[in-house]
């Protein structure tokens, strides 16, 4: 790949955001970025801004995206380099393994970004990382006479093979989701780094989130009403919504600070360590996360009448805790609000409201009763001790 910003945008960024074939070639070096930044006006290309806007509008109607900045360019370069590790011609490159490790380190450094300072910045990173997760790859597969198959990953088969290949050989075309079938360990590790750089993507795709992730990373997103609505509906759109909720809850609970483990007091004369990443444990942030998870229950009750046969068989503690969240409403209701409470207040004067709300209220009540039979009491007690106590004063 020619190491210029224009080519990077044309061959990689624009297809990444807008769809179409994106070209992956030689990796970018860290020293390639400063020359690119000298052409920073390329980052203000209208079509690029428009594609970012369209990507953002897939989530919220009026995204407040900041202008492209060096961090975003750094992220694109890191994503680009991640794909290099999945290149089928990687073995043809004359280099030692240490060089590849150096490339991985460079890429990781490109993907290491500070936590987003605002919702817009989080959305900006999700625009790129979310599109990266959705990347597809077109493979051509042909059976070999000696057994096995020959797969051309993101490339065309050599003409010498196509010349002798016949339909009897089973030439077929496959569309592969790239992030689900990463072959190299380096790419898998780098993908986790990319996800850590985009907390909103982790929130929206909790099943692919890296270990140790916490929804509290995207605390700002849970404070934005439009964004929370988008998050809830994105969760509800997925088929295994219980697993999604369980993953979020399972990531939330360990990230809560343990009050019993007091911070050690540094001894005198000891060198002070730099403070690590401090997660916000403000009750309002927790209320936002818990309220979104409870609202996910309500959305599925409205949509599906909430058949929970699969969830009952799951032993995942995160899933159990997720299913127990609506049972915490008697304690959290004052802070989170009831799913039906807003409806009653806003549409009290709407004619025919009882006709619409009565079945929903009945189903929600039945759903809570069902959960009460389904969820063990100990799970509720654990949540009362760990989660609820951080939001409201429990007796």
């Amino acid at each position: 790949m020619a190491r210029s910003l224009t080519e990077l945008l044309d061959d990689f960024v624009m297809p990444l955001l807008g769809g179409g074939p994106l070209q992956v070639g030689a990796p970018l070096r860290a020293r390639d970025l400063p020359p690119m930044l000298e052409l920073a006006r390329e980052l203000q290309r209208p079509e690029l801004r428009f594609l970012r806007l369209r990507r953002g509008q897939q989530l919220v109607a009026d995204p407040e995206l900041p202008d492209p900045d060096p961090d975003e360019l750094q992220l694109w370069a890191g994503l680009y380099n991640t794909l290099v590790f999945e290149h089928p011609d990687r073995r043809r490159v004359w280099s030692r393994a240490s060089v590849w490790r150096r490339v991985e380190g460079t890429t990781r450094s490109l993907l290491t970004l500070s936590a987003p300072a605002s919702v817009g910045e989080a959305l900006m990173r999700h625009v790129s990382v979310g599109a990266f997760i959705d990347l597809r790859r077109h493979d051509m597969v042909v059976g070999l006479p000696t057994g096995g198959e020959l797969r051309a990953m993101g490339q065309d088969l050599p003409r010498r093979i196509l010349r002798v290949a016949s339909p009897a050989d089973g030439l077929r075309h496959e569309q592969v989701r790239l992030c689900e079938q990463l072959a190299s360990l380096e790419a898998q590790r780098l993908l986790e780094d990319a996800l850590r750089a985009s907390p909103l993507t982790c929130v929206l795709r909790p099943l692919v989130a890296p270990p140790g992730w916490s929804p509290l990373w995207a605390a700002d997103a849970f404070g934005d009403r439009a964004m929370v609505r988008a998050i809830c509906h994105e969760w509800a759109r997925q088929r295994d919504w219980v697993a999604v909720g369980g993953a979020v809850t399972g990531a939330l609970l360990p990230s809560l600070p343990n009050p019993s483990r007091a911070r050690p007091v540094p001894r005198e004369g000891e060198r002070l360590a730099l403070p690590g990443a401090v997660l916000p444990t403000d009750p309002d942030v927790l209320v936002g996360v818990v309220g979104a998870l409870i609202h996910l229950h309500f959305l599925k009750v409205v949509e599906l009448d909430a058949r929970l046969g699969v969830a009952a068989a799951s032993r995942d503690p995160g899933v159990t805790a997720f299913l127990a969240l609506p049972l915490l409403l008697p304690w959290l209701g004052e802070r989170t609000g009831s799913p039906l409470g807003g409806v009653v207040q806003d549409d009290a004067q709407r004619p025919g409201r009882d006709h619409v709300d009565a079945p929903i209220a009945r189903r929600w009540t039945e759903y809570l009763d069902h959960l009460q039979e389904l969820v063990p009491r100990s799970a509720v007690d654990n949540l009362l001790a760990s989660l609820v106590s951080r939001i409201v004063q429990t007796p």
Binding site: M1, P15, L16, L17, G18, G19, G20, P21, L22, Q23, V24, G25, A26, P27, R29, A30, R31, P34, L51, R54, R55, Q58, L83, V84, E86, H87, P88, D89, R90, R92, V93, W94, S95, V99, W100, R102, V103, G105, T106, T107, R108, S109, A131, D134, L135, R136, R137, H138, M153, G154, Q155, L178
Partner: protein, 550 residues
């Protein structure tokens, strides 16, 4: 037998005395004994058990004290059952009882126990006694004491032609004196009078049995008059002439189907005319009389194909030879008219000009529903404002004609498609628009100013014909002193289209999305050169690489 006792003189007491010459008194002995259940053998010949075990002989014998009770028996039986079942085997004998007295004996073949039970019941109601047996010996029919009948205690036999009737305690012997033919007896029976309805037979024709069909026997001298009268009344009748026994001339027998009350009243009140009600297909009984026997159930007593007319007034039964052959009434009357119809040949070419008058407009006072209006041009601006008040159906049915005199609004003409729509819509716009001079419709499509009419009042269709109007043309008599105006269909403009200004619509522009939906990107791996990692090989040398990638 008990001897007659001698009564003593006054003051003495009764003392029976038995002379030595008398035999000693005996106890009464029964001549019959009841048949027991299941008994199959009897001392009397001819008895046999039926299905219920009742001893039934081959014949039954019914004794009546007088012939009147016999007739009553036959009448009751014919009412209840069919006399034809009994007549073929029935014989009637006038017998003398050996012990003294007379009786009428009716013998007939016995059926099963049910039929004999019915005969016994009817005989008991008509003072008769029923016995069963065969040949010359008959025993008492079953009763309450002997539900299965009676049998002789000891066999008995009659001598000669006598008939021996055995009851429980006595034996009667009958000897036939005279035999009667039952058919002849039935035919000779005297008719019984029945009262006629007080309201006349015309109102009670069904009760008298002559509602559908009536027969009339007309004396010879009245035939032609009666026929003429019936012909004049257009009655549905047929008849033929029959010669009754003892009459010199031929009488006329008429059959009148569905006679009207007037016909019945006239015929019933005419001397020499006897109305007869059909009792069966071959018997009729005079009106006011009734045969003691139901003739409908006794066809066997009317043998052959003859027709029987039972006449009560004269006390005769007329036997008409052969089946009745009625001839339709129109062949029985004679035409006496002499007038002949003349076909109309050539019409006279008469001059009708003296009859012709001029069609003119004259004032009238009768109100008409306004079907149009003549609006002066000065008031057209007002009409434009009033259009908003006109109902849509009336507006759609209204048409206008611009003339020099003004704008004619035709709202409810009865011709044309819009006219029919106006008729459906109800009241037209002419009744709503309070402008100009109203026009009324004197004929379809002919509008005359309100307060006037066409004179003379000819038929509406003729009016259009006289004016020479086409199928969709209109004629307007706007003023009495001006000539009418012909308006063709093409000159009529729809009111709504004439009033509403032309609107210009802007063509819709469809906006197609210029950009396709966002799709995931497709990774295409370029060919990677052997020196793709050029520049990554060395350790960091520059300050830019320091701390990165390691």
């Amino acid at each position: 037998m008990w001897a007659r006792a001698a009564w003593p003189a006054a003051g003495g007491y009764y003392r029976p005395r038995f002379p030595l010459c008398y035999p000693p008194p005996r106890m009464a002995t029964s001549l019959l004994e009841p048949v027991s259940a299941g008994q199959t053998r009897f001392r009397m010949q001819g008895l046999a058990p039926d299905a219920r075990g009742i001893a039934v002989g081959r014949e039954v014998l019914v004794t009546f004290p007088t012939i009147d009770w016999l007739v009553a028996f036959l009448g009751a039986f014919s009412d209840e059952s069919n006399l034809d079942d009994l007549l073929p085997t029935m014989t009637l004998e006038h017998s003398r009882r050996q012990e003294g007295g007379h009786a009428i004996l009716l013998r007939a073949a016995a059926g099963d126990g049910y039929a004999v039970d019915r005969l016994a019941r009817i005989a008991g109601a008509t003072r008769g006694q029923l016995f069963t047996g065969s040949g010359s010996v008959f025993v008492r029919w079953r009763g309450r004491e002997a539900p299965f009948g009676y049998d002789l205690v000891s066999p008995m036999a009659a001598s000669g032609e006598e008939v021996l009737v055995v009851d429980i305690d006595y034996v009667a012997t009958y000897a036939a004196v005279d035999r009667m033919d039952p058919v002849e007896l039935i035919q000779r029976l005297q008719l019984r009078r029945v009262p006629l309805p007080l309201s006349g037979i015309s109102g009670e024709a069904e009760r008298c049995g002559i509602k559908d069909l009536a027969l009339a026997l007309v004396a010879p001298g009245l035939a032609s008059r009666v026929l003429r009268h019936l012909w004049r009344l257009e009655a549905n009748f047929a008849g033929y002439y029959v010669t009754l026994e003892g009459d010199a001339g031929a009488s006329l027998l008429l059959r009148i189907r569905h006679p009207r009350g007037r016909v019945l009243d006239v015929l019933h009140g005419t001397p020499g005319v006897e109305l007869l009600a059909p009792a069966s297909s071959r018997a009729a009984v005079q009106l006011g009389y009734r045969h003691p026997i139901q003739l409908a159930s006794a066809s066997a007593c009317l043998p052959g194909e003859e027709m029987f007319l039972f006449r009560g007034d004269v006390g005769r039964v007329e036997r008409l030879p052969g089946p009745p052959r009625f001839v339709d009434g129109r062949h029985l009357v004679e035409a006496t008219g002499t007038a002949h119809l003349r076909e109309l040949g050539q019409l006279r070419e008469a001059e009708l000009e003296p009859l012709q008058v001029e069609l003119q407009v004259r004032p009238a006072s009768n109100p008409r529903e306004p079907r149009g209006a003549l609006i002066a041009w000065e008031q057209v601006a007002l009409l434009r404002h009033l259009v908003y008040l006109i109902p849509p159906s009336a507006l759609a049915a209204s048409r206008v004609v611009p003339l020099d005199e003004g704008l004619v609004v035709i709202t409810g003409s009865s011709i044309g498609n819009r006219g029919r729509a106006a008729a459906v819509a109800g009241m037209g716009a002419g009744a709503i628009v309070p402008l100009g001079r109203r026009l009324g419709e004197v004929a379809p499509g002919v509008l005359v100013a309100d307060g006037y009419e066409l004179w003379p009042r000819v038929r509406p269709a003729l009016t259009r014909q006289l004016l020479g109007l086409g199928p969709d043309d209109h004629a307007l008599f706007l003023r009495p002193d001006t000539d009418p105006i012909r308006v063709t269909e093409a000159q009529l403009l729809p009111l709504d289209a004439a009033l509403i200004g032309r609107l210009r619509l802007s063509d819709a522009t469809t906006v197609a999305p210029e950009l396709p939906a966002l799709t995931p990107g497709q990774v295409e791996n370029r060919k990677l050169g052997r020196f793709a990692l050029w520049g990554f090989g060395g350790p960091p040398k520059g300050p830019e690489d320091e701390g990165r990638g390691q």
